[in-house]
Amino acid sequence: MRRVLLLAALLLPAAAPPAQACSQSQTTTTARKTATTAPRKSLPRPVYHAADAPTNAPVAYVGGMKPVMDQGRYFHGILDQLEGRYAPGGTDFRWDGEAWYGGDYNRLWLKSEGTLEHGRLHDGDHELLYSRAVSPYWNVQAGVRADIDDGPTRTWGALGVQGLALYQFEFQATAYVSDRGRFASRIEGSYDFLLTNRLILQPQAEFNLYTKSDPARQVGAGLSDVDAGLRLRYEVWRKFAPYVAVSYAGYLTQARRIVHDQQGESGALRLTFGVRSWF
């Protein structure tokens, strides 16, 4: 059989030499095809359309019952960070989590993060967002953000993207405009390195930028603060993973001077223990 194939392979190109050039016109292609086939009648032009294209004549399902449940809605919440950050000067407690409810396209998100430091809550940031899936990996999100903690409260409108960047980076970038006409933005990213199937090393970073300083909230113009961590978690089960980490939270550029002037701590690297969990 192999020999037959070889023979045929040798013969066929010879039988249809013009077909090899790609610059060849469509008509020649057809002619060449015809040449290798039996004489053909002229055919009606084929019709192209998708057989399953949505129509105006909906199907009458018995009792209105849909045979599958592809419009299901789901509810999940995840605490990416629930951790204690140890340092000689005292322990900080931090959380960062989000929950969503919805279907494949439209979801409602609630995000919350904050740090409890020396009994004082700061970096409290809470968002309520509507999210719309727009591409295989990306969602557009819009809504409101409220900075609620022991500092003065600020509210913002939010618009951002969230999704999976190339090479499976989790990424989100959000722009904010405040009720006082200020602008800000936040960029967050993380990546999961699988050391084993359950032991996962995750670098993560969050940057905040502002157009104007806001000393009452330790905010400076430009790149204001960073919160980053390198977490090594063990997924006892998917939904429960204790971790150890080194985390860094600090103020940058102008904010660093503001915090320094307020006799605050401008940044610290801390040994951190926590749990990542979701439902």
Partner: protein, 686 residues
Amino acid sequence: MLIPSRNRGGLSRRRFVTGLGAGGLMAALPRPLQAHTPAAGQVPPTARARWDLRVGRTRIEIDRKVLHAPCIGEDVPGPILRWRQGDTVSINVTNTLADEDTSIHWHGLRLPAAMDGVPGLSFAGIPPGETFTYRFPVTQSGTYWYHSHSGMQEAQGLYGAIVIDPPVPDPQPCARDYVILLSEWSDVSPMDMLSNLKMQDDYYVFRQRTLASLPREAREAGSTLAALKDRLAWSRMRMAATDIADVTGVIYTYLLNGHAPDMNWNALFSPGERVRLRFINGASMTFFDIRIPGLEMLVVAADGNAVEPVPVDEFRIGVAETYDVIVQPREARAYTIFAQSEDRTGYARGTLAPQPGMSGPIPPMDPRPVRTMVDMGMDDMKPGESMNGMAMPEHGHDMSASHSHSHLMPHHEGGTMDGMDMTGHAPQHPMGGMQPTTPQQTPHRHDTPTPRHEEGAMAGMDMADMQPAGHGHAMPMSEHRVDEPVHHQPAGRMHRPGAMDHDAPAPGTMPVLEVDDPGPPPLNVENQNIARMPTDRLGSPGDGLEHNGRRVLNYRQLRATRPGSDPRPPTREIIMHLTGNMERYIWGFNGRKFSESGPIRLRRNERVRFTLINDTMMEHPIHLHGMWSELENGQGAYRPYKHTLISQPGSKLSYLVTADAPGLWAYHCHLMLHMETGMFRTVIVE
């Protein structure tokens, strides 16, 4: 009430009748205990036309996983229904579930649409407390199965086997006849599985590539750099080469006739006897690779229909498929029936033995498969491989459209095609420079199959047999096309409608007058990949089974024992892309899930070619209710009639359908969670 069941491996399997109320309990009492006895899997001695089935929930514990399983007659699987072709069967199905509808779908059976049992489609379901009588003439014979089509009950236990006697004596008489129904068991509800997968698509996969597995990959790839490149290529696509099954042995116990592996289901034989084993994949999410070490299996039927016997060592059974095999054990020893899941996270197991209670050695599981660029429909090249040795097939003109992926390369991964690679995903590539290389690397236009795991099993695979000379009514030319599903090149794909004539028909083929072609699927929320160059993988036994040193069945080897009953060539071709977004866990056809699509309308008695292009990187068992799917696998008029066809990742295949059954029918992927997330269409035959 405790009814201990067969218990061989040390673990007991207990069931308690609960939640049925007095009526259910009463009904349960007179039931013969047969279903619990060692005879599970034994085909009932005689066929019956009248059956009474009660659907309820029963507490069943298997492998320490307790489930209040929806099932028939307090057992999983339900009873084996033995029917006789020519009879009109009537089956009363009573729903004793507390507050949920149920239904029974007779998988693979040709019957009136109202009897098909898919709620919403010509059938209203069976509400709690009610009885529905299915009544239909049985016009076929062989091995089939039934399962619920409601509320994901099929994933939890509502399924069972159907054996239909032919009107004529069995051409393959056997001394013994067993059903081997494979399935899964889990105490995680299918709703929870789906919800978890929506949140994290690899929730159940713990066999991913990690730092720890890098040394082994480096060894296999030749260098650490090559292994890393491969990983980068996959992660760039935001997919995982280790994505074999969505739900795995992490939560599943794989069952054989309702028995966990350590319960060791037994079937008896006397040495020298021919034993028929009717394999049914009744799982909801798992493909199995089946072998019986030490025994050759003679595949004699696929999806209920007789095929020319093919001797094999192993075969893959997709979800919802059935295969009848005949074995003839000659030694008085135990033979292990070993059915490992495709992703190798577990296995179902039973034993053929001359005496009850014996067990044979259990082989180690094979390495789990890893997806390659073939599965992505890219080309034969693994990411990171060089382009050296790239060759072009002879029909170069098609390459100008290669970015539109319409072109199916005759490609058999091995055989004469080794080393053939293409850069088809670079439409701007100067095609003029691409010339065929040595003839050995140049596929023949007529694509003679180059099956790989044959060894004598491939009678009828050469060209001469493609157009059987002897049979009377098949139009000799009409089948030619099956040998070259290669030809299709719709102008629509080129975005130059009218600029190109439709592909010329193969020699003598009657024209396909209409092509329902959606074009390449969009990259959108619901689709993450386009198979630019889908290949013909009918000659491949499937990922993980190639080159394993065993004779493994492939689709090209299936040859019906009689020519098809409808010799007409198709007048319409319907192209369906299998699409999905693993990341979001959405599945569908043509980049759309069920709720965003319209139905597929077929005209009564129309002859249609369905062409499936799998743009995803997973296998999908595609099932059309109510009508046969005649696979165009190179066997001419003797194409096998199937009800469920595995579409391999990155592949293209086609089959013929005669739309002779009016009504609304389901058409879907039989991986239950794929179906429920959108890989479903309604087919209307009007």
